[in-house]
């Protein structure tokens, strides 16, 4: 299973999910939501939600072709996610409600802006 690959690599519109760092065209986010974390982000069909859960401010693009076996994907913690384009670094944090939900579930939130490395 793979995420839709944005048709234009240089598009300024491309957005990266703040939680899983997948890079998609905003249209795809609207149509399909985030292929990895839609369950918690609930972006599908709601542009407002997309605006807060994704950002255009990211740096570096990874084409994850074989997530299971890729070290890059593992390092990026995306090896359980779908194939697709991921950002190396995403600036910003997920909305507070999502962060609270993660906390409820006992999941550690790791921002994708490389601020906490351990």
């Amino acid at each position: 299973m793979s995420a839709p690959i944005p048709p234009q690599a240089r598009s300024k519109q491309l957005r990266a999910c703040l939680l899983c760092s997948i890079v998609q065209h905003p249209m795809d986010f609207r149509r399909e939501g985030c292929p990895n974390c839609e369950e918690i982000m609930q972006m599908k069909g709601t542009p407002d939600r997309i605006a807060v859960c994704t950002t255009t401010y990211f740096d570096g693009i990874i084409a994850v072709i074989d997530p299971e076996n890729s070290w890059v994907a593992r390092w990026q913690r995306t090896s359980k996610y779908v194939r697709g384009m991921y950002a190396v670094r995403v600036k910003g944090r997920i909305p507070e409600d999502v962060e609270a939900e993660l906390e409820n579930r006992g999941i550690k939130y790791r921002p994708r802006d490389q601020t906490d490395q351990d």
Partner: protein, 1126 residues
């Protein structure tokens, strides 16, 4: 059937329903994704099954579509419905192939057997029964199953289909445990086209998906790029081979430049590269990167939540002088705004409602609350408030200057708005910087903390701690450690300081006021007060700015500002000039606004008394203010720019009319000793001189280097050859021979190329060409212009030089032929004389000439034949012409020695003949070095009385040149045989040139044309003028005339046979015609070399390039012969 399957399969995986369910879901997904041929096979027995399945799937799709419309109940039911079918699908799919085959066999057997008879009934039956079963099952489930189960089912179902529950299962692993190990695939670095990194990563992804199910899927696991690593991408794969294969066919990837393995310890850091995050907070100072406000300081007011847009406040630039013609029509006004934006941006100015309304009209400005809206921008308190993208802002190195900050603080009405701006930010920034600029020995004061007020001298600096020796009443001499941030440099009024950094760098001045960390000083240069931060200052004793030179221009240069205006720089500022133009107006110009520097060093004008006025004359005004001054520049012989130190205005420069000036020192029309008389002669005046009122003044090349052939010896154009077309200061515009390109280049990088291919510095004395030119000119003056002098300009002629020697003088009037001949090689071409060699032999003149040298000296000069020159069949003339082409350029001692020998035996002349071989060897050919050494040698070698009639030599020399030794002794006969027709001859090769001058390697490649056959009726003259290529030369008898060449005629000529054997005496070398012809030279230094022409050979010299060589050489066109390609 579904029922059956259900029952059959459930027990198999009933043990772990959840896991199983997940598996099922996954498998189901797979099935849907791939289309299941296996499934079809499995149900080969009953086609309805497939149909029904399809139906179900359709339903499913529908359900998905109306998801929002349908109630939850319906949804659930549908899911359940689907659920009923699904396990069956999935489980079937899980059955191994063997089982499938078995089943197939089992099922096909009865089918094939039964179908023909009971098909209809059976199917109907099965259909109905199955429907009933399904219905029942559904009802049953719906009724019986507890809600919990349904919910569970649903959640499983839903999760599998729409979104996996986010578990963040990898988030608990510390990053360090994710470090790459040796078992992981490696990262490979590949060079790509810069700017294409991201596209290539995307291409790789698409390619991977495309070929996923092909025979050769990509074996790479990932690929990525980093914005901070331009020109490369990284690919994760097991081997470079795999990377290479993945990159095949992608445009912009350069695997040929190496696929480099990234060391394992560097892999993680590639993904950890972090751009320095620049946080923007309200109040931050930023600069605008682009547009009308480029470089302007702005203050952040607010930031959107995602940090992409920033609301800024800054000083607007409103065009308050829109073009007049556009003031009425609103549409046009809009346009004017655009134009103004592109041409010159209006100055920063606070928004003033009244002003704008006055210019644009009331209806263009509207007011809402405290905010004005004008041209779709909002203005508040005089500032413009506008949203910018973060990417359009410069966040680093903003360095707001004090000026800018104070402008911000003051606001539109000039009063302080303390609330407006937070100075602490800039203060903080400047303080940080201040630490860096402290040096031991600096005088500092403490401005905060316990020791505030103490001042002293910095002793040492250790990171942030500064040790100072306090100066003052009670703590004098104590050493105190202080944090660096709480001290600042201390200046007091009266100090002489220099600005180290910033806009005012290099200004010096006297401190007049100190307020906190702002020091105001009176600039030595501008005599204006300048305020700077104390951190930017240093005490200095020096005065003035370091230099008067900005760009290529310096103080007191005469510069062209536009077509009509010139001016003199009277003040240089940091990056601009103050220029006084010819109309007396002062302008502030940037270096780029100056089109060129003008040279008026040789300009002159007439003053009020009609005397010559030149640059550097000391003059005074005869009218007006009677100012005195030194002439700096003269423009168009009308304006004079004068300089007088005692005048403070405009740096002592003023402009006046030449006619109102009088020389301070009386200047007569005395001719100074040594003055060049030729300057008095208008006709002889060099173009550079420029006469008063002459129309073409200033037209001539001002710079002697204009027109010179040069080569570039440094820089990116090194090795290129070209011609200087224009010069400006130390820059030269060079037209390159190649690529039809003009470049501007520093003159220092140019070397002049002499005609013999040597290169000498541009400013080296140009005695060769200049002297030659002069000599040439002189001879033309005297002899009435015998021919185009251009080649004379290039080739200094030993004869010419010889003409100046005393011994020449002694030879009476006879130098003429030499001078003529020597200096006008081109004269040959214009010589329409019947061949002197053929006819000349019979004329008494010729005989006289050849046998008795004296007549040359005495009679020769007087005979009309001499003077008539070119038009007469005069052997001397033609001889001289020969000399020009053959001997003219032979400065070689060898040549002159040969002459010497000859001269010794002049009377008989015969013994001298063999010496001509030296001539024919032609080593000296085309070596017109300025040394012109031969002349002295020539003279020395002529000490005999016989040599006294020196002129005799030349014809003799000439005479040798074209003839071959055997014929020489009897000129008459020899010339009779000489078949060259002078008509159209560009070159005077001997008739045996084919054998003598063409090196053997080219003798079967030379192109020739045929001449002289008509006279001898060779082939009845049919071959005359035909062109062809020599295939070989047959020498029947050495030195005999029967040397014949096998000529293959160029096809397409009238009456040309394919080939013919032609005596070589009828052959003349065919000159190259094109710019890329293969040629060789028949004489000179280039003789025997395989070359290509690099320009169309139409001048006396042609630029050629030896094959395999890298530099151009000038070859004499007449020596070139076209070669066939090998």
């Amino acid at each position: 059937m579904s029922d059956f399957d259900d029952h059959q399969t459930y027990p198999a995986d009933g043990s772990d329903p959840i896991a199983d369910d997940q598996d099922n879901d996954a498998a189901h997904d797979d099935d849907e994704g791939q289309g299941s041929s296996a499934r079809r096979k499995t149900y080969g027995g009953g086609e309805e099954d497939d149909e029904e399945q399809d139906d179900e799937e359709e339903e499913d799709d529908e359900e998905e579509d109306d998801e929002d419309d349908s109630g939850p109940k319906r949804k659930r039911a549908k899911h359940r419905h689907k659920r009923a079918a699904n396990p069956f699908l999935d489980i079937e799919a899980e059955v191994t192939d063997e089982e499938e085959d078995e089943e197939e066999d089992e099922e096909e057997g009865p089918d094939a057997f039964i179908a023909p008879t009971h098909e209809g009934d059976e199917e109907d039956m099965m259909h109905r029964s199955r429907n009933a079963l399904l219905d029942r099952q559904r009802d049953q489930e719906f009724d019986e199953a507890n809600l919990e189960k349904i919910a569970q089912d649903f959640s499983k179902r839903y999760r599998g289909r729409a979104a996996v529950r986010y578990t963040g299962d990898m988030n608990d692993i510390p990053q360090r445990l994710l470090m790459p190990s040796v078992h992981d695939a490696s990262l490979w670095q590949i060079r790509v086209k810069p700017g294409k990194e991201r596209d290539i990563v995307f291409s790789l992804m698409r390619k991977a998906i495309d070929v996923e199910y092909s025979a050769r899927p990509l074996e790479i696991m990932s690929a990525f790029e980093r914005d901070s690593l331009p020109g490369m991408i990284y690919v994760e794969a097991r081997s470079a081979q795999q990377v290479n294969r993945a990159c095949q066919g992608l445009v912009g990837v350069y695997p040929s430049r190496g696929i480099h393995l990234v060391p394992i310890e560097e892999m993680a850091s590639l993904l950890q590269i972090k751009k320095q995050d620049l946080t923007v907070t309200p109040g931050t100072w930023v600069r605008i990167k682009r547009g009308k406000y480029q470089g302007d300081l702005a203050q952040v007011m607010d930031i959107t939540e995602n940090g992409e847009d920033v609301g800024l406040k800054f000083i607007p630039r409103i065009d308050l002088n829109p073009r007049d013609d556009m003031s009425v029509d609103g549409k046009k006004r809009k346009k004017s705004g655009v134009i103004a934006g592109t041409n010159m941006r209006p100055p920063q100015r606070f928004f003033n409602f009244e002003e704008v309304v006055k210019v644009y009209g009331r209806k263009y400005v509207s007011k809402r609350n405290q905010v004005f809206v004008f041209q779709n921008e909002t203005y508040k308190d005089g500032f413009i408030e506008k949203d910018f993208k973060l990417s359009a802002l410069q966040l680093e190195n903003v360095n707001p200057t004090l000026d800018e900050i104070t402008r911000f603080t003051r606001g539109q009405d000039g009063t302080e708005h303390e609330s407006n701006v937070d100075l602490s930010i800039i203060a903080e920034a400047s303080r940080k910087a201040a630490i860096a600029v402290l040096q031991p020995g600096d005088h500092v004061e403490v401005f905060e903390g316990e020791q505030a007020g103490v001042h002293g001298v910095v002793e040492e600096i250790n990171l942030d701690v500064v040790t100072i020796t306090a100066v003052g009443v009670d703590m004098d001499g104590q050493r105190i450690d202080l944090p660096a941030r709480s001290v600042r440099k201390r200046f007091k009024p009266g100090d002489h300081v220099k600005v180290m950094t910033g806009q005012n760098a290099d200004e010096t001045g006297l401190v007049v006021a100190v307020a906190d960390n702002v020091v105001t000083f009176l600039s030595d240069m501008s005599m204006q007060e300048v305020s700077v931060f104390s951190k930017d200052l240093r005490e200095a004793a020096e005065v003035g700015s370091g230099t008067n030179i900005v760009g290529n221009y310096e103080l007191h240069d005469l510069v062209q500002l536009d077509q009509q205006t010139v001016g003199v720089i009277f003040k240089t500022e940091r990056d601009s000039f103050r220029v006084l133009d010819q109309n007396g107006q002062v302008r502030l110009v940037q270096p780029h606004q100056i089109s060129m520097r003008r040279d008026s060093a040789r300009a002159f004008a007439t003053d009020s008394q009609g005397h010559e006025l030149r640059v550097n004359d000391n003059v005074k005004e005869v009218d007006g203010e009677s100012r005195k001054g030194r002439v700096l520049h003269i423009h168009q012989s009308f304006f004079a720019f004068l300089h007088n130190r005692e005048i403070s205005e405009n740096g002592g420069i003023f402009v006046t009319r030449c006619r109102s000036l009088a020389s301070l020192a009386p200047k007569g029309n005395l001719i100074k000793p040594g003055q060049d008389l030729s300057k008095m002669n208008p006709a002889l005046a060099a173009p550079a001189g420029g006469m008063v009122g002459s129309g073409n003044m200033g037209r001539g090349p001002r710079d002697r280097s204009i027109g010179l052939p040069v080569v570039v010896v440094k820089g990116p154009h090194k090795g290129y050859a070209g011609t200087i077309k224009d010069t400006n200061g130390n820059l030269a515009r060079v037209e390159l021979h190649t690529g039809n390109k003009m470049i501007s280049i520093d003159k220092e990088k140019l070397y002049r190329r002499t005609p013999d291919g040597q290169i000498v510095p541009l400013n080296a004395p140009m005695n060769a060409s200049e002297g030659g030119g002069g000599g040439g000119g002189g001879s033309h003056g005297r002899f009435g212009g015998m021919g185009p002098p251009q080649s004379a300009n290039r080739t200094p002629n030993p004869y010419g030089n010889g003409g100046k020697t005393p011994s020449w003088g002694a030879s009476g009037r006879t130098p003429n032929p030499y001078a003529e001949g020597g200096k006008t090689p081109a004269w040959n071409a214009s010589a329409r004389t019947p061949n002197p060699y053929t006819d000349g032999g019979k004329t008494p003149a010729w005989n006289a000439a050849s046998r008795t040298p004296n007549p040359y000296a005495t009679d020769g000069g007087r005979t009309p034949a001499w003077n008539a020159g070119s038009r007469t069949p005069n052997p001397y003339n033609s001889g001289a012409a020969g000399a020009s082409s053959w001997g003219g350029a032979t400065p070689k001692a060898g040549g002159s020695t040969g002459w010497g020998e000859e001269s010794g035996g002049w009377g008989g002349r015969t013994p001298g003949r063999p010496a001509t071989s030296e001539w024919s060897s032609g080593d000296a050919w085309g070596a017109p070095t300025p040394a012109a050494a031969p002349t002295p040698g020539f003279l020395l070698s002529a000490p005999t009385p016989a040599a006294a009639p020196t002129p005799g030599f030349t014809p003799a020399g000439v005479y040798h040149a074209p003839t071959d030794a055997p014929y020489a002794p009897t000129p008459g006969g020899a010339f009779g045989n000489y078949t060259h027709d002078d008509e159209d001859a560009h070159y005077e090769p001997r008739e045996t040139w084919v054998a003598d001058d063409v090196s053997t390697e080219f003798c079967d490649r030379v192109f020739v044309f045929i001449r002289g056959t008509k006279r001898d009726q060779f082939f009845e003259g049919k071959l005359e003028n035909l062109e062809g290529r020599i295939r070989g030369v047959i020498t029947t008898q050495a030195g005999d005339l029967t040397q014949v060449a096998n000529v293959f005629f160029t096809p397409g000529q009238d009456g040309a046979p394919e080939s013919a054997l032609v005596p070589i005496k009828y052959l003349l070398p065919l000159a190259p015609k094109g710019a890329n012809d293969l040629v060789t030279a028949l004489d000179g230094k280039l003789k025997g070399k395989l070359m290509r022409t690099r320009e169309v050979p139409d001048g006396p010299t042609t630029v050629v390039m030896e094959l395999g060589a890298t530099h151009f050489v000038d070859a004499r066109t007449e020596t070139l012969v076209l070669l066939a390609p090998e």
